[in-house]
Assembly symmetry: C2
Homo-oligomer: 296 residues x 2
């Protein structure tokens, strides 16, 4: 009998927690404070959306558990580093993340800067440490991760986001920003999870790309809806920040009801993109549902 | 006839400048400001010590020029990102670098943060883009770069440096800090340059490691001597910062004369380490001399 989605998700989250604990240097290793701070921010929380996507995709393509543990840890390390830097005073200046004081509050700004820098390097080290894949495929995976993390991916999206404060973006401009800022890392999580199993055909790559694009946008639309409607305790981070920071959001452009409708439409698009994979794509479908229906 | 060292160095610096210009996204590519700022800080200056080491080592092991251009650009991008973050107000708070306003001064702090983050990703993307090496060797090179850049390398050394302000370090503690902070990236520049040519025997790896260790320490000893004796205009950065920041240095521990003697001793050690390679290691020997005899 197939495991329930809840059980599967919990299992993956536990596996990822353990894997991160293994691939991050021990807090007893010099320099202690840096390593403790890396573990403080990376362990013990988070929805682990990117690892879940990698495992779901790996499930579909027959990825080995040990390989997926490294893939999932690598994408999560990139995500966590981006949160640490994003929360710093010169960026969003946020004190609360995942229900805990942010790194620059719990430690100091210089440590937060180094924690983010070291986590990015650790992500590449962790991925490059995969020993059981064909090296040529692993090189491609490392290149894809670098592209998704860099200036034509996540960092580029953050830069556009910064420059958009106070501007009246069109829906298209907002979409392009989010496709870089969050979409690129969600997409690469799906693709790397698949490549943990085997090489992909162009058709498979396109299907996974369409799925990723839909859930990436859905993720952001729901984020904007939650920021406008949920409270800080539920979110584990400061709610209402976007409006307070005068940032363009789907809610500010489309309104609340149309944003919710858009999220539902993107969920359907994600399901349709998975059609070529049939029943086997169960976990990826369930994750699309989760992303749209989550409350935090 | 063999090219003079000065001509060789100038040629490499020109090649690196051109390579960086190619491997960094164009300033006309979205997001413009981020890409402009990446180019502002990475292009048009710098001693290019790490690229010179990579080319010198590549010269010894028969590395292809196209491969070396990517190796040299990758190590320089890591170095430049570390300078950008190091200069930020929460770290060294420096306004001047390579004779130009630092990124957070010329742009803003958030941009400086993203420029550093994006340059690190670009380094891995650039190295992973090498198409002509055996993929297994390239994976090793990517892993070595990640280790040298991360918490057991450069970032780790910076963390120890931060925690050492105002402390009376022993010479051994100071040495360990610098072996991580600058030594790890100098070493990996030499090793990656060699691997651009061919796989290394354990004896060759050990010899290059000993050379790298000696020039890494020499580099730092000379840095400390120059910080205590040169002026800001000559250095292209603020002189006398170490004493003003109450940082432990070789000069504060050993005094000026003994520091100069130590640098000279390390130069001899570097030459001795290269003995197995005979006359062929000319450029690496000349670089050891340059590192000790430089005036800025």
């Amino acid at each position: 009998m197939t495991q329930s989605f809840q059980d599967w998700m919990q299992q993956v989250q536990q596996d990822v927690e353990r894997a991160l604990g293994t691939f991050l240097p021990a807090g007893t290793t010099v320099p202690h404070k840096l390593h403790e701070a890396m573990r403080y921010t990376a362990l013990g929380g988070g929805k682990r959306v990117r690892p879940l996507l990698a495992y779901a995709s790996g499930d579909l393509f027959g990825g080995d558990a040990g390989v997926l543990a490294r893939v999932a840890s690598a994408v999560e390390m990139i995500h966590v580093y981006s949160l640490v830097h994003d929360d710093m005073p010169c960026m969003d200046d946020d004190d609360l993340r995942r229900g805990k004081p942010t790194v620059h509050v719990a430690y100091d700004e210089a440590t937060a800067l180094l924690v983010g820098d070291a986590l990015q390097a650790q992500a590449f080290e962790t991925l490059a440490g995969i020993a059981s894949l064909p090296p040529a495929r692993l090189v491609s995976m490392l290149r894809l991760l670098a592209e998704a993390a860099g200036s034509s991916g996540m960092c580029g999206g953050q830069a556009i986001d910064l420059d958009s404060v106070g501007l009246a973006l069109t829906r298209e401009e907002l979409e392009r920003m989010h496709q870089l800022k969050t979409g690129a890392m969600l997409r690469v999580s799906v693709i790397l999870g698949a490549l943990a199993g085997r090489d992909l055909s162009p058709v498979e790559l396109e299907a996974l790309g369409a799925y990723s694009k839909a859930i990436g946008l859905a993720f952001q639309v729901v984020d904007d809806v939650l920021d406008a409607t949920a409270d800080s305790a539920t979110l584990g981070k400061t709610a209402g920040k976007d409006a307070a920071d005068n940032k363009p959001t789907y809610v500010s452009i489309l309104g609340l009801d149309q944003s919710k409708e858009l999220a539902e439409q993107l969920r359907r698009e994600a399901h349709e993109a998975l059609a070529p994979f049939g029943e086997q794509a169960l976990r990826l479908r369930e994750l699309a549902d989760l992303i749209v229906q989550r409350k935090a």
